[in-house]
Symmetry: C2
Subunit: 385 residues, 2 copies
């Protein structure tokens, strides 16, 4: 096990009806900016519920934070923060709204051009406005981590930053708020959380046995309940477990003391940027192929995964690994995800531009061994058709 | 799944050599009181290592915090805090030293008689001196929770308190510092952590599937590695996993959204108070009997435990439950614990005074259903001989 530091101060306030208590978490008299996305928070009534819970506070609203939140949009929010002397931010939404709000929090108190926060990847950023979260879409895990990904349209850039200053102070996770999500968002969320686990778990054996068990616990739960969530949207316990899985998958717990991969995510980001394919959809299409190409380096963990998650104990190592990857693909298909890039309108002719894009973004040495080169990615992409 | 709030701000600084970085975690110029126990911190050199890491700070030492730390001792430490104008506490030791230091932290800034903190069980206590921990004995989990148990010899009282103000700011967990622990302490630590999991996991099904998986992950790891730790004391990864297990067993994670039992602990406390039997030893002797007596109420979870932890799938429910309890007892024996109270010098004649003691401390309705009466405990105690 490697040395590590694990720190996660976010207070998780979990369960039905918990929005009512957010006023206990925000200093009395604070001027609050409520941030949200494309309008579903308004349509579903969550925004009204939040505002009712904050009666007596001076509230300002900022809607329209888009998926893959943009610097341009967020700079307008920062202007509003200054104008209205905001001292607390409350993000109501999913990963994009929360990520965007983290940037607003850090940017509003940054001396200089906030773009530098991203250029520095957050290094040296140790102050931010306090922020809280009301989560409506379980997937990204941003509600309980110190990381955000921001896009700048004018530069065609997508950068992330990390600063413990932007850990949400609290996150309200009310599973009933996920009942109205479209099926596709549930599928995406389950696959996204599943792949967050994979990127931290499916590397090399590190004798981090407890972290492995926790990772496997999240996978088991996603596999058991993901399909049920599609069929039975108002099953409280199912939604509750999935919501908790998504948070635990990316709050630092299973990353403690182990190497991380993230190559599938990095290639996926290029597919999103080039073709507008949804994030989780890129992961579902890429992961089986990436695992196939990297199976020798991930051999021991693939065998462990196959045995513990899918009960695969028969056959040669090659056969067991092939079965484990096939079961993974099958699970994504059960979750109604497309697992062939052709189904997203791509052909093998697109491969060179994907690789060019990786090279242009300096994504040429990915993975836990930093040996996933564009050539390795090419082999994987060929298997995606 | 029940509603819950999960909050744990303690920064876990894990791994070999990490004591060297504690100065980064304590404000420059702080006057630090280093607290420790019976002298093993001195003998093993950990105390010197801590002092070397804090060169330049004004340091005061307070040793002699005993197992089951006493109010009388801790009040002397509080005096010292006032005299030397201490503004940061650093506990070097295991659960007793940490619990004691939490009381010092809250008591030093309490207006009134600090005993009231315990009488109020911590209610309303929202300030304390900041404290950090260098853990030398993995077992109690106190390094990363807001709870402490304090004894007052003169009143023959043992009370606990809870306040988020006494969450350690940081906890250094260096597995190499456990190499010199006597075997018995390792046995005790493994059994204590195991039983912490049981008290939160072996109740009734709550559809808290992820919490169940996490609890089972800790149990699996303790069962796999506990015996190895006894045979191979300097196996770093083994000690690392066990240390992490003990922390995760009682940091709030697996308690989220589920009922808790704690009846075995409560009865065990009486055995410690009456006969001086070590805490973990009381749990090892009591648990199989308590489970046997409570098996109908814990039926579903006992079956799940038997199947997932011990692979028990054959036989009637009664048989499977009996097997699961037998395997538990066998594990404690492999960990070199005594599982019969006769081996601690007791006989069935002691049972009435144990029950009297429970009644005297108002421990008459224990367990997740609050129906573990002294009569139920009597049935269990009879099975302990």
């Amino acid at each position: 096990m490697d040395n590590f530091i694990f720190e996660n101060p976010t207070k998780i306030i979990f369960g039905k009806g918990q929005i009512a208590r957010i006023s206990k978490e925000i200093p009395a008299g604070a001027k609050v900016l409520i941030t949200y996305g494309g309008g579903s928070a308004k349509r579903t009534g969550v925004l009204d519920e939040v505002k009712a819970a904050l009666e007596g506070y001076e509230l300002t609203e900022f809607g329209g934070i888009e998926p893959n939140p943009s610097y341009e949009t967020l700079m307008k929010a920062i202007e509003l923060v200054h104008k209205n002397q905001i001292d607390f931010l409350l993000a109501v939404g999913g990963g994009s709204v929360i990520d965007g709000t983290k940037f607003i929090a850090a940017g509003a108190v940054y001396e200089g051009d906030p773009w530098e926060i991203l250029l520095r990847r957050g290094r040296g950023i140790n102050k931010a406005l306090p922020l809280g979260v009301v989560l409506t879409l379980p997937a990204a895990g941003s509600e309980s981590n110190p990381r955000a990904v921001i896009s700048r349209k004018s530069m065609n850039a997508k950068l992330s930053f990390y600063s413990t200053a932007v850990f949400p102070r609290f996150a309200v996770l009310d599973p009933t708020k996920t009942y109205t999500l479209p099926k596709q968002q549930i599928s995406n969320g389950v696959v996204d959380a599943f792949m967050h686990v994979f990127e931290q778990y499916l590397t090399v054996p590190m004798e981090a046995r407890l972290q492995d068990r926790f990772a496997e616990g999240i996978l088991h739960t996603l596999i058991e309940l993901g399909p049920v969530a599609l069929e039975d949207p108002e099953n409280y316990d199912v939604r509750a477990n999935l919501m908790l899985c998504a948070t635990m998958a990316l709050n630092g717990l299973i990353a403690a003391g182990v190497p991380q991969d993230w190559s599938t995510h990095m290639v996926g980001h290029e597919l999103t940027a080039l073709y507008g394919i949804e994030h989780a959809a890129t992961l579902a299409a890429l992961a089986p192929a990436m695992l196939t190409v990297l199976k020798d380096k991930k051999r021991a963990k693939l065998l462990q995964y196959g045995e513990r998650i899918w009960g695969i104990t028969e056959g040669s190592e090659e056969e067991r690994i092939a079965q484990a990857i096939a079961k993974t693909k099958e699970f994504f298909e059960i979750m109604q995800m497309k697992t062939n890039l052709r189904d997203h309108g791509l052909t093998p002719d697109n491969i060179p531009e994907i690789l060019d894009s990786l090279r242009a973004h300096d994504m040429v040495r990915l993975g836990e061994h930093q040996d996933v080169t564009p050539e390795v990615v090419r082999q994987a992409l060929e298997l995606c058709f």
